[in-house]
């Protein structure tokens, strides 16, 4: 084992991670709550209504962060997957596995809030707008990853298979995005108002950024919690395995 690998392993050691998570989590949770409250206050009581979109601009304060986290969640999975394939470290597997459902939830919320915004703006819940369509395809990639995790029983094998799929997906995301954009410009004259205007006033931008920061923190709070649970789950499985083995030995001795 090389020096660098040793350091990496020590940092990513499950026991060490559990300690680190317990230290960070309370602080991060407080920070999340603080940011979220500030963001909500600014969004509802301070931010002016947009001259084009009226009060519905308030949906943007959650929709845009959700869309951002949908992308970020997949990036987290990709990075963890690369780590898992190269270093074969179980913590990278844990990180990739637990990020998937959280990212999928944010993706789903981005879709739902997008369509709730679409109804008053465009008069319909769903438009095949380039952005919504590519987020929808991203959602399918998440579903595929989660399904693959679920289908393969052995954690290390499931982790590697999901890592391969995640990396293939991340190579594909830009291509999918590009092709959906192309498809959209072909089929739709750009008459629909874009979700984000080019000029965002600072009174809208500030709450947006704060909300984005709040939800990003929330993502990591949930991710750390889920990772901790996953580590516990693996411990339980390992213990059950040793239990089975111990039982096998005593039975063998009796026989």
């Amino acid at each position: 084992m090389t020096q660098a690998e040793g350091t990496f392993n020590r940092l990513a050691n499950p026991t060490r991670f559990m300690g680190l998570a317990s230290t960070i989590l309370p602080w991060l949770t407080c920070l999340t709550a603080l940011l979220l409250l500030t963001g909500l206050y600014l969004a509802f009581f301070v931010a002016p209504e947009d001259y084009q979109q009226g009060h519905t601009v308030k949906i943007m304060f959650i929709h845009v962060p959700f869309a951002w986290l949908a992308m970020m969640g997949y990036s987290v999975i990709t990075i963890a997957s690369i780590g898992s394939l190269i270093w074969r470290h179980p913590m990278a597997d844990v990180a990739a596995k637990t990020a998937a459902p959280i990212g999928a939830c944010f993706t789903l919320l981005a879709l739902v809030t997008g369509s709730l915004w679409g109804k008053p703006m465009w008069g319909t819940y769903w438009v095949w707008d380039a952005r919504l369509t590519s987020v929808l395809l991203l959602f399918f990639l998440y579903l595929g990853l989660m399904a693959l995790w679920q289908a393969i029983e052995e954690p290390s094998r499931a982790g590697r298979a999901a890592a391969i799929l995640a990396i293939v997906g991340s190579v594909n995301i830009p291509i999918i995005k590009f092709s959906v954009d192309w498809w959209n410009t072909l089929h739709q004259p750009a008459s629909v108002a874009k979700l984000d205007g080019p000029s965002i006033h600072s009174s809208i931008l500030t709450p947006l950024l704060i909300m984005a920061a709040a939800f990003t923190c929330l993502f990591f709070v949930m991710h750390l919690m889920a990772m901790r649970t996953e580590v516990l789950r693996r411990r339980v499985q390992a213990l059950q395995l040793t239990h089975v083995d111990a039982a096998g030995v005593t039975q063998g001795a009796r026989a």
């Binding site: 052995e154 954690p155 290390s156 499985q237 390992a238 395995l241 083995d245 096998g248 030995v249 063998g252």
Partner: protein, 201 residues
Amino acid sequence: MKLALKDLKCVRGGRTVFEGLSLNVRDGTGVELTGPNGSGKSSLLRMLAGFIPAAAGHIHLEGGDNDVSLGEQCHYVGHLNGVKRALSVQENLAFWTEYLGGGEIESALSAFDLENLSHIPAGLLSAGQARRLGLARLALVHRPVWLLDEPSVSLDKGSRKFLSTAIASHIKAGGIVIAATHAPLGVKFAQSLKLGTGGRS
């Protein structure tokens, strides 16, 4: 030529199957692997073939071809025959000749007593005949190392003779054979390795 295994460790599904396994096999000798189910006989053979990465330790074929992987210098015979039911016996062997490179189909057929069946679709063969067809690969393409996992399964007494003859002549010709068996194969092996229930102390 010498196959050297040093401090091998095998982990399957979170369990340590065996560790600290060292073994040297000289050319012209064979090793018999014994041990109860789950003791890692199959895992060791699959590890040698390169299917399972070793959790620790090294495997090296001294005096082998350094340009190709160890797996490419091995014949691996597992529980499955690798026989295509839709192809005839002859066609099955013809594909392996082409794909694995070289070999005389006729001599492989006679080595495992399949001459009369060569134009029969493999799907019609009995279990023992299909097994012999799977084993005929050994005689078809020359590879220095043979990894055999329960090779005599579903072979009747008469057929076993063909197998033991093939193994004996391979050893005599300076090959290496590592075979996991429950039943004796009728060949004298230079070494015998008994795998315990490692990791289950």
